[in-house]
């Protein structure tokens, strides 16, 4: 909301660098992962967002100062039995958004296990953001902001309460992630599972590959 224009630059601006990041969304079923992505990518919101099977793939770019950050977003299915597929998607991801529903305590607990799993099995340098979605339903709140904030602080996560419905904090969240990502290193081939991509948009970015790992 705050920077919609910045978040959705369609024309190629004068940004000198283009960074590409793989971002994965995780979280319990029906917490609003797909809605967050849809709001971020298309600026839309559907009351009845179709449940995701397997995973959905979307892309979006944000402009940060002189850098264009391209997000390659993998929106995963929330149901527990799709859990076994998750590694395929978070493997090699530089960023992850773990989403929970502020009106549902269980989803917060599940978010915590996702965070743990990511910390353990994903790329060590992965930027994890915690998103308490459905902030518009504050009257039904079950997860206190402070509780989540404290948890995020403990685990050094980015944290925001968002609302895909009202667009609150959605773009900010992605922008915050973009900011936190090592801009100089858009092409990470050094993820834990090593699923690299072969596109080199800017030659100069190749040189700083190792930096990411050492972070």
């Amino acid at each position: 909301m705050t920077s919609r224009g910045a978040a959705r630059p369609n024309g190629q601006s004068q940004a000198s660098k283009i960074c590409q990041f793989k971002l994965v969304l995780l979280g319990e079923s029906a917490v609003g992962k797909s809605s967050l992505v849809l709001r971020f990518v298309k600026g839309q919101f559907h009351e009845y967002q179709e449940s995701t099977i397997g995973a959905a793939f979307l892309t979006q770019s944000v402009c940060l100062d002189d850098t264009t950050v391209k997000f390659e977003i993998w929106d995963t299915a929330g149901q527990e039995r799709y859990h076994s597929l998750a590694p395929m998607y978070y493997r090699g991801a530089q960023a992850a958004i773990v989403v929970y529903d502020i009106t549902n305590q269980e989803t917060f607990a599940r978010a915590k296990t996702w965070v743990k799993e990511l910390q353990r099995q994903a790329s060590p340098s992965i930027v994890i953001a915690l998103a308490g979605n459905k902030a518009d339903l504050a009257s039904k709140r079950m997860v206190e902001y402070e509780e989540a904030q404290a948890y995020a602080d403990d685990n050094s996560l980015l944290f925001m309460e968002t609302s895909a419905k009202t667009a609150m904090n959605v773009n900010d969240l992605f922008l915050a992630i973009a900011k936190k990502l090592p801009k100089s290193e858009p092409q990470s081939t050094s993820g834990a599972a090593g699923r690299s991509r072969g596109v080199d948009l800017h030659e100069q970015s190749q040189q700083n590959k190792s930096q990411c790992c050492s972070n």
Binding site: Q20, E28, S29, A30, K42, Q44, H46, Y48, Q49, E50, S51, T52, I53, G54, A55, A56, F57, L58, T59, K70, E72, W74, A77, G78, Q79, E80, R81, Y82, S84, L85, P87, M88, Y89, Q105, E106, A109, R110, K112, T113, K116, E117, R120, Q121, R195, S196, R197, G198, V199, L201
Partner: protein, 956 residues
């Protein structure tokens, strides 16, 4: 009436006598039956018995060698045909007059005339009526269908599932209302015989169908017809005839009756002649019933009865009947009077004789007395005394004589009186006779008139006229035959009138349609010109690029075109609405939104996609479409059960038409789950459902969460109150109870939702059972989705084999396409391809099984192989993979690749691959699970208590 001999020929056709027409399914009875078709050439030309079946979908009348035949010999296009009675050729007329009566012609638009012959006239009428009706319905539906090739012109008779109910309103245009009325008026009541209808198939073909079967039933129908149609007009006539029969009972006189009446007639004439000129006085006969009529002059009476309508003949007849009785009474009385007279005359004669004798006695006694007086003087006293005695005697005798004379006089007077009476009687009789004669004449005249005018019964005349009596029977038959013919001609006339009416109505409709088309065509042409001119401007601008980015005319044109493109569907000028081609409707026939509501970028793409699809389907329709093949297939299976065969497989691969999909899917599902179904108790699904609605299970929560997140772009699932949502819940819940190992897996909801579009709740449930338990390998939807993951490995192998170039291209850019294709397999392409193709894939999937998924997955890649190969980075490849499946619109091409180019495609190979990969994946998963468990244990011991409860963990 035709010769009585024909009754004997009532062969196999008349046998049976079951119900007239079987109710086929839920709809109207199927129109089918035996007819004779004139075919062959030269000397072989003749009628051949054929089994005819009317197909309402195409309005064709197919004919088979017999009801069990699979392939029709041919068909008649009823929609554009007209019918007429068959007029026998002059030569053959005499021989086959009876046969031809039941023959009719079907004129095809190309000028061909097919001569068909029904077993009976009644059958023929039935056929003609039905065919007219079908043609009417079909042509009107054609109007209503708005020529939208994507909606089926005929309503599906198998309305199941959510989509199948979505038939377009088949409202009949108002201009047809009057024609419709007229049709109803002209309609002829018919009831088919046993040779029509499905049950007729079980009967042998009529061996001698040319025989005329005049059953009583038919006769009654014809009478019924005549009564119902002639209710207003000459009904009175008929009434009078029937009354006549009641009164006279001479319609079919026996010879004895005739003799009697003849004798009576003779007698009456005699009497009339013999008793003329008698004056009337106290006449004992009772004329009180019609007193004023008797007094009317005869001429008047005749005149008035002539003037009167023939329907009034009944009183006259009654009167003359009464006269007969009077005459015979009169005759009897007259006879007794005459006898009395004779007796009196004899009496008189004997009295006269007596008087004469007495006079003689007196004379002789006087003579004696004279001698005695002379003697007295001289004779003794005793003699005188004797004389005195004699005198006394004489005196007494004289007295007696006087008395007798008096008596004689009175007798004579009496005789005179009696004679007067007799004369009077005779006169009366004569008058009556004259009356009777006159009346007889009137009757004869009237009956002759009657028979002449109406070809009516001559029984009256025959009864009266002794000379006609001998040929009465013959005439009666002749009369019946003529009446029959008349009835036939009337029916024919009525039918032909209706035919003319209907044809003109159809012609009017066609003209209107043509005008409409013309208008539409013109408006379209104008639009095309506009677009073309804009396009040319654009081209021109492109050729000479203007440097300034700001305001080039091209940009303007482009923005305008953009506006137009998006506007077109929303704003429609009302006056143009009628002529505007409805190229893209809001929802497709499956209920999916064609254009997303709130996405401008997507909108344009979706619109162009919808237009492409439309143009594809339009051009496809011009060729012999799969629809025709399906019609032919159904025509061939009209008489038998559907069977698994290569023909059907190929047909299904080309796609099942919308209107048949419900039926075919149900059939396919039943084919696969038969063994499951057979082992379950009746009401199995209901029991499961009951159970599920009463109790919660771990799956219920997730099911509830996903209900409204299932195909939200389909109108049948778009709101909580949608019918589909409830059904979806039921099926998913029931399944979670049937298969607790799977319970509910996200994705199953889409499968059920698609199935529910064409199937009823319970069938959709069995469809899910088919997919999950019959088609897919074990563990496809269970906890770890093991089977699904295995299939992705198998698919990779197949890709490298069938599309090696593409496979290495993906390898090169490290693109794991299984991240995308995983979905295709799990939910069988739901949401991945355009709905037209989706349902075609499902058609063959439900018939053939899971191999179809591999075929189509490979085909989709092959279809766009070149495009993918052009992409040179992983992100754009992924981006492309995400949506490219929706850009594929040509189902025919795709199917061609899937089932042609990719062959050979042995299932064995897939099975082997599956077994191979299963072990590997299982190992990897166990490894992963071990790591995860290690980690969880570690964390448990570490810090906080766990409060995580997920549905799946509750399961275990």
């Amino acid at each position: 009436m035709p010769a009585a001999g024909s009754e004997g020929e009532e062969g196999p056709a008349g046998a049976g006598g079951g119900p007239v027409a079987e109710q086929a399914g839920s709809g109207t009875p199927k129109l089918c039956g035996y007819l004779q078709k004139l075919s062959g050439k030269g000397p072989l030309r003749g009628f051949r018995s054929r089994w005819f079946v009317f197909d309402p979908r195409r309005c064709y009348l197919y004919y088979f060698k017999g009801p069990q035949e699979a392939l029709p010999l041919g068909h008649l296009d009823i929609a554009s045909a007209c019918f007429s009675y068959h007029q026998p050729e002059a030569g053959a007329a005499a021989a086959a007059a009876g046969d031809e009566a039941a023959a009719f012609e079907v004129h095809s638009p190309n000028g061909a005339v097919t001569v068909l012959k029904a077993a009976t006239r009644q059958d023929m009428t039935y056929w003609l009526q039905e065919l007219q009706q079908k043609r009417w319905e079909y042509c009107n539906n054609l109007d209503a269908a708005k020529r939208d090739s994507r909606t089926s012109p005929t309503p599906s008779d198998f309305s199941k599932g959510l989509v199948a109910k979505d038939n377009p309103d088949l409202s009949i245009l108002s201009q047809n209302a009057s024609a419709e009325r007229a049709r109803n008026i002209l309609a002829v009541e018919t009831s088919p015989t046993d040779l029509v209808g499905e049950q007729a198939a079980s009967q042998p073909a009529p061996i001698q169908p040319s025989a005329i079967n005049f059953s009583l039933k038919q006769w009654s129908t014809e009478i019924k017809n005549s009564m119902s149609s002639l209710r207003k007009g000459n009904n009175e006539n008929r009434k009078s005839i029937f009354y006549t029969t009641e009164e006279w009972e001479l319609l079919d006189p026996t010879p004895k009756d005739l003799e009697d009446s003849m004798a009576l007639e003779e007698k009456r004439k005699h009497l009339a002649e013999g008793s003329k000129g008698l004056a009337s006085s106290a006449f004992p006969f009772d004329f009180g019933r019609i007193p004023h009529k008797t007094r009317r002059p005869l001429k008047d009476m005749i005149g008035s009865s002539k003037n009167r309508n023939s329907s009034d003949s009944s009183p006259t007849e009654w009167y003359s009947g009464n006269g007969n009785k009077l005459v015979s009474e009169l005759q009897l009385k007259y006879q007794s009077q005459q006898e009395e007279l004779e007796k009196l005359k004899k009496d008189l004669l004997s009295q006269k004789e007596l008087v004469r004798l007495l006079q003689q006695t007196v004379r002789s006694s006087q003579y004696d007395k004279y001698f005695a007086s002379r003697l007295c003087e001289g004779v003794p006293k005793d003699k005188l005394e004797l004389l005195h005695q004699k005198d006394d005697q004489i005196l007494g005798l004289n007295n007696q004589l006087e008395k007798l004379n008096l008596e004689k006089d009175s007798l004579q007077q009496e005789v005179k009186n009696l004679k007067c009476k007799v004369g009077e009687l005779n006169e009366r009789l004569g008058m009556l006779m004259e009356t009777i004669q006159a009346k007889d004449e009137v009757i004869m005249k009237l009956s002759r008139q009657l028979s002449e005018c109406e070809d009516n019964t001559s029984s009256q005349g025959g009864a009266v006229n002794s000379s006609v009596a001998t040929c009465t029977n013959k005439e009666l038959q002749e009369l019946d035959r003529l009446k029959d013919n008349l009835q036939g001609y009337k029916t024919q006339n009525k039918f032909l009138n209706k035919e003319i009416l209907e044809l003109s109505a159809l012609r009017r409709n066609a003209e209107a349609r043509e005008r409409e088309w013309q208008a539409k065509y013109t408006s379209l042409e104008a639009k095309l010109c506009q677009i073309e001119s804009k396009y040319l401007i654009l081209l021109q601008e492109m050729k000479t690029p203007v440097c300034s980015e700001e305001q080039s005319p091209a940009r303007e044109v482009i923005t305008q075109l953009l506006e137009d493109a998006l506007k077109a569907e929303t704003s429609e000028q009302p006056e143009q609405a009628f002529f505007k081609p409805h190229l893209v409707s809001e929802y497709d026939i499956y209920g999916f939104q064609t254009v997303p509501e709130d996405d401008d970028e997507e909108k344009l793409v979706a619109k162009s996609r919808a237009l492409d699809l439309r143009s594809l389907s339009l051009s496809e329709n011009r060729e012999i479409s799969t629809g025709v093949k399906w019609e032919n297939y159904f025509a061939s299976t009209m008489n038998r059960e559907m069977m698994r065969c290569v023909e059907l497989k190929n047909l299904i691969r080309s796609g099942i038409p919308h209107e048949h999909r419900s039926k075919m899917w149900k059939w396919c599902v039943n084919l696969h789950v038969k063994k499951f179904k057979d082992s379950t108790v009746p009401g199995y699904f209901q029991t499961l459902l009951q159970n599920a609605l009463e109790k919660q299970n771990p799956a219920s929560k997730q099911i509830e969460l996903d209900l409204l997140r299932t195909l939200p772009n389909n109108k049948h699932y778009s709101s909580p109150t949608s019918e589909g949502i409830q059904k979806l819940r039921n099926v998913l819940l029931a399944f979670s109870w049937r298969n607790p190992d799977i319970g509910y897996c996200q994705g199953l909801n889409r499968l059920v939702a698609i199935a529910l579009l064409y199937l009823e709740q319970e069938d959709a449930f069995w469809c899910l059972v088919t997919i999950v338990e019959v088609f897919m390998p074990r563990d496809y939807y269970t906890k770890t989705l093991l089977g699904s993951q295995v299939d992705q490995r198998v698919f990779k192998d197949l890709m490298s084999e069938k599309l090696p170039r593409l496979h290495s291209h993906f390898e090169q850019y490290k693109v794991d396409y299984t991240l995308i294709t995983f979905n295709w397999f799990l939910v069988i392409f739901v949401d991945s391809v355009v709905s037209d193709i989706l349902f075609k894939i499902w058609d063959s999937f439900l018939y053939e099984g899971p191999k179809v998924i591999f075929r189509f997955a490979l085909a989709l890649f092959k279809y766009k192989e070149e495009e993918i190969l052009k992409l040179q980075d992983s992100m754009s490849i992924f981006k492309y993979l995400r949506y490219f499946t929706r850009t594929i619109l040509d189902a025919r091409k795709l199917t061609g690749i899937a089932f042609g180019d990719l062959n050979p495609f042995p299932l064995r190979q897939i099975r082997n691959r599956r077994t191979y990969h299963l072990e590997k994946v299982r190992l990897e998963l166990t490894e992963l699970e071990a790591i995860r468990e290690d980690f969880l244990r570690e964390r448990d011991t570490c810090v906080e208590k766990r409060d995580l409860i997920s549905d799946d963990e509750e399961d275990s």
